[in-house]
């Protein structure tokens, strides 16, 4: 029983105690809430996170569907590649997008080569759309992993039966595969939502003055303005927002695993 005390003490000193200090130092909520910069950041954070989650769910579902049910040689090493993808930092994606869609980049370069115009049409990287695209790219693997696990549990016999009864592929996806995948979609989606709410590197590297989210606002207030108290207020809001959603995620995961155990036991 006592053995758990030393690691807990380390956690308490380096994480829990500092976090309580942040809550205690946060003061003047009303003043911060009235600032337009705060409201903009809150709005941006939520809208980008929800949009990126929806995009990642859609893209992840389609890609995982093909890997699982329309397999091709090399599909397995692709899922290996996805794991490596997640080991890299998120800001690499924004850096890469600069070379694809930036003012000096592949897409605009291709455009000017073909049309002979001086500048290309792609100029969205420094807007919320650039952040959205980077987040969808980076977080889609987080959706695919639980989905691939769920898809491996789908009974092929069920699909064969549906097919032999005349159901075409879209209908099988809708009525056989999708119900099985819903818990995994919910779990992956809420994890992505939390990660998007907390994302910092992508937004920072986008370098957009117009796109501030709660994490970059915390950084700006604390480091650039030296306003620790205001930064703590924004931090409390951000933590509450993500913690609530993370709690939801754990709840869904617990339900998914319970459901899996029940099915295995039946």
């Amino acid at each position: 029983m006592l053995w758990v005390v030393p690691p807990l003490a380390v956690l308490a000193l380096t994480f829990l105690y500092p976090l309580t200090l942040v809550v205690r130092q946060a003061d003047g909520y009303g003043e911060v809430f009235r600032q337009a910069s705060f409201r903009d950041a809150l709005w941006n954070t939520v809208v980008i996170a929800v949009g990126a989650t929806a995009g990642a769910l859609l893209l992840g579902f389609v890609l995982a569907l093909v890997i699982a049910f329309v397999p091709f040689p090399g599909a397995k090493s692709l899922s290996r590649f996805i794991d490596i993808f997640l080991a890299f930092p998120s800001f690499l994606i924004t850096l890469a997008l600069l070379f694809v869609y930036g003012s000096r980049g592949m897409a605009n370069g291709l455009w000017t080569d073909v049309t002979g115009n001086g500048t290309g049409p792609f100029d969205f990287l420094h807007t919320p759309w650039g952040v959205l695209l980077a987040e969808v790219t980076y977080f889609t693997p987080l959706v695919m992993r639980p989905l691939l696990a769920a898809f491996s549990q789908v009974e092929t016999a069920q699909m064969e039966a549906a097919a032999s009864l005349g159901a075409r592929a879209p209908r099988i996806v809708r009525q056989v595969i999708l119900p099985e995948a819903l818990p995994a979609l919910a779990a992956g989606g809420s994890l992505v939502l939390v990660m998007c709410l907390n994302e910092f590197g992508i937004v920072l590297f986008t370098g957009a003055k117009g796109v501030t989210t709660l994490p970059t606002l915390i950084y700006g207030k604390a480091i650039l303005d030296g306003d620790y108290t205001g930064a703590c207020v924004v931090a409390v809001v951000n933590v509450l927002l993500s913690a609530a959603l993370y709690g939801l995620y754990r709840l869904l995961v617990a339900r998914v695993t319970k459901g899996g155990a029940r099915r295995a036991g039946a």
Binding site: L63, V66, F99, V136, T137, A169, V194, F205, Y219
Partner: protein, 265 residues
């Protein structure tokens, strides 16, 4: 098999690659290509050069790389020790208490990394624990952030472990410490090395908390990459990013070799 006709299967796979390649493969390819270029105003980069890499080999980028490697090594070793200890100790606790301990150790994942950085800044900026502006505070931040992953994977490995091994060792008279060192930890070794690799990779790429905390004399590679690209040197930044990716991949590969060697034992 969802799609039966060969033609339709080809079509589906074509769509798959149309989505997969631009989204997942292209980012790495363009960064790699850009790192060897000086300009990108056409469809392909131009001005082939290796000067960015030569600059890295001479300048303070090398210091940034070592800084990152040392930080990641220290953070992942401490995280592995704390996370494994907590997972092993929590296993013996009553179910309800164990839930709470597990949740506490997973909490840093849900908290934004920027806030983790801010909280350390707030807590350790005044005596008795004045760590603000030291290298240690960067290592502490990385450790806090990656311990959750170490703890999670060791906990998962413990639940998969066959209890018959430790039970038979104990029934033959082995003391708990002996069982731990000679039975449990060797059986856990594959998961431990995998967890160490994950922690190392995450720490190598950590930017958010580091941006809040780094002192001028302890500047990890991601911060250097941000500084370089922020002042407009995109192509030099791409070369630094390639160095970061290669270093991370090399460590992950080395760790996975340990894993396979251990599993044959």
């Amino acid at each position: 098999m969802l799609v039966h006709s060969r033609w339709a299967r080809r079509a589906v796979q074509a769509v798959f690659f149309l989505l997969f390649l631009p989204v997942f493969a292209l980012p790495f390819l363009v960064v790699l290509a850009a790192s060897f270029a000086t300009d990108w105003s056409g469809a392909l980069p131009s001005g082939l050069t290796v000067t960015h890499y030569q600059d890295i080999a001479q300048g303070d980028s090398l210091t940034a790389l070592t800084t990152s490697l040392v930080t990641a090594l220290a953070a992942s070793l401490i995280a592995l020790a704390v996370g494994t200890w907590a997972a092993l100790a929590a296993e013996r606790l009553p179910r309800r208490v164990r839930r709470v301990v597990d949740a506490l150790f997973m909490l840093p994942v849900a908290v934004p990394s920027v806030v983790v950085g801010l909280s350390l800044l707030v807590a350790f900026s005044e005596p008795p624990l004045l760590l603000n502006g030291t290298r240690e505070i960067v290592v502490i931040a990385h450790t806090v952030l990656v311990t959750a992953f170490a703890h999670q994977s060791v906990t998962a490995a413990l639940t998969r472990l066959d209890p018959a091994y430790e039970q038979s060792a104990a029934s033959l008279g082995a003391r708990p410490s002996y069982v731990l060192w000679r039975v449990k930890l060797p059986l856990l070794l594959p998961s431990l090395t995998a967890a160490a690799g994950l922690c190392f990779a995450l720490s190598m790429g950590e930017l958010s908390a580091t941006m809040m905390l780094y002192p001028p004399d302890w500047l990890p590679l991601p911060v250097k990459i941000f500084g370089t690209t922020d002042r407009g040197a995109l192509f030099a930044g791409a070369a630094l990013a390639v160095v970061l990716m290669v270093a991370t991949l090399a460590v992950l590969l080395g760790v996975s070799r340990i894993r396979t060697r251990a599993s044959y034992r």
